[in-house]
């Protein structure tokens, strides 16, 4: 069992509240996943710069060493490094050479991605989620069943720039998919099955598929139970497996699209009384894009 929440704003007026709304949704899902939590927020971004979310020990030392090219903001165990696009490779090479212990949890123009072991409310508080603004965000509360309670095993997973995925369920063919994807240049940081689903979508989108098309194709290629919520720089999508094994409920108003594993997670959203509340159908891709 795990909990998923997602919020995709249509109204810019709500953007300063995105983190606060997402934090509340995440905390309500504690019962579904008290082991660890994580979230991705699509906030401000500059087309000329890359944001790298780093996780590891002594991150300030990195900020100092790269001080001539990068600006940094530390949040608890994570740090967001903002790097000019032309220095992307140089910074990547420096990190690989000097700090192989550091994990890049997410990278892109706008994504910031945080995850940690602990109760969802504590995780949200440690990273200051309630003060973050953005256009959309995705969160996950994990109850580990197949692998250890570690930060590595926490969601979301990001395998491509500005992409992230959260998963409730389990995949049965992730080993063979991994063997197919690795020669295609898709790199994985963990042994987690959900990361393979993220990598599959990254691969499909790299080959030219839209987010919706990539999810459509996953229905043929992924075997197992899943409810996915996926984010890209401009998109937000939901897919459930063909027998709708894992729960999902959505709410849509003129101001937002919201996803929750249970309605409880949506009950505190503004205007929920007038929202269209519906259960996404199995094997049907639901996708929204910002224009």
């Amino acid at each position: 069992m795990c909990g998923i929440v997602g919020l995709f704003l249509k109204s810019p007026a709500l953007e300063p509240q995105l983190g606060a709304l997402l934090a509340d949704m995440l905390e309500v899902m504690t019962g579904r996943g008290p082991d660890s939590a994580g979230f991705a927020v699509y906030g401000a971004g500059d087309p000329g710069r890359l944001k790298l979310t780093l996780r590891g020990g002594d991150l300030t030392m990195i900020a100092q060493a790269l001080g001539d090219v990068a600006s940094a903001e530390v949040r608890d165990t994570h740090m967001v490094l903002s790097v000019p696009r032309q220095d992307e490779e140089r910074v990547g090479a420096w990190l690989a050479a000097n700090r192989p212990d550091v994990v890049v949890t997410g990278a892109g123009q706008r994504i910031e991605l945080y995850k940690e072991v602990g109760l969802p409310a504590q995780v949200a508080r440690r990273f200051g989620l309630d003060s973050m603004s953005g256009t959309h965000g995705i969160g996950h509360t994990r109850m580990a069943t197949e692998s250890a309670v570690t930060t590595d095993g926490a969601h979301p997973f990001s395998t491509g720039q500005d992409q992230c995925l959260v998963h409730n369920g389990s995949l049965s063919n992730h080993r063979s998919l991994r063997r197919m994807l690795e020669p295609q240049g898709i790199r994985f940081a963990t042994d987690n099955d959900s990361e393979v689903a993220a990598g599959y979508l990254t691969w499909k989108m790299r080959e030219g598929a839209s987010l919706a098309q990539a999810l459509e194709a996953s229905l043929d290629d992924l075997d197992g139970f899943f409810t996915f919520v996926v984010g890209t720089e401009s998109g937000f999508a939901v897919l459930r497996d063909p027998i709708s094994c894992k729960p999902a409920v959505m709410a849509e108003t003129d101001d937002y699209v919201a996803f929750g594993s249970e309605y409880r997670a949506l009950a505190g959203l503004p205007g929920i009384e007038g929202a269209r509340v519906f259960e996404p159908e199995p094997a049907r891709v639901y996708a929204w894009e910002r224009h």
Binding site: P247, E262, Y263, P282
Partner: protein, 229 residues
């Protein structure tokens, strides 16, 4: 009328108060405000009272109900009225998966749609869905009646025993051992009674429905299949 505001009172206190009601209670009308999708609301009741839930309910609302009437003035989550024995549960919005699962008796009415596995393993309950139902509904249904004014999803009535299914719209596919059967006068009368009980007027004619049930070919082991094991 007793009003319980779940923004101030816990769900456990609500259910305890409802469980403690004697059979001859005068407190027969309850209203539950701010349900906010909480689980197990008004579950396990055993008194002839009416409980109105003013909003969306979470999982297992009205589960194990006996004699009570429970009205959800919104959507209901997974397993509404699961294992109901008697009484009535009325969902004014949509119902999530496994509505009326394993229920033995009573009436479940859903004004909107019900999603996957509606009436799974039903054992005597009557279910009327005014919208459509999702895939794998009435799976291993044993007894009772399922009436659907809209459409039914894939694999309706898979491995069904003796429940009777009445569907007005399209059936995407029938499950193993589920077949269409003749709609005879006794079925028309039964169906009319169920529609009346669910508040469906005469504008919906029983002749718009088709009846489905068990072909009874899975009841006994076929020796021809022995090689499959």
């Amino acid at each position: 009328m007793a009003v319980v505001d779940l923004a101030r009172t816990s769900r456990r206190e609500l259910n305890r108060a409802l469980h403690d009601l004697p059979a001859d209670t005068n407190e027969t009308l309850w209203r539950v405000e701010n349900p906010a999708g909480q689980h197990a609301l008004a579950a396990g009741l055993n008194a002839p009272v009416t409980v109105k839930i003013a909003g969306h309910a979470g999982y297992y609302c009205g589960g194990m109900n006996q004699r009570a009437t429970i009205v959800v003035e919104g959507n209901a989550g997974v397993g509404v009225a699961e294992n109901m024995m008697s009484g009535k549960v009325h969902v004014r919005g949509d119902a999530s998966q496994s509505a009326g699962a394993t229920a033995h008796g009573g009436l479940l009415v859903v004004d909107g749609n019900a999603s996957a596995r509606c009436g799974i393993s039903m054992k005597g309950v009557d279910i009327v869905v005014k919208g459509s139902i999702g895939p794998m509904s009435a799976f291993m249904a044993q007894s009772g009646k399922l009436v659907v004014l809209g459409d039914a999803g894939d694999a309706l009535g898979d491995s069904i025993y003796e429940a009777r299914l009445y569907v007005r719209g399209a059936v995407k596919s029938l499950g193993a051992d589920c077949i269409e059967k003749e709609l005879r006068d006794e079925h028309r009368a039964e169906l009319r009674g169920l529609l009346d009980a669910a508040g469906v007027g005469a504008e919906v004619s029983v002749d718009q429905f088709r009846r489905y049930g068990s072909a009874r070919t899975l009841y006994n082991f076929h020796v021809d299949n022995a090689a499959a094991y």
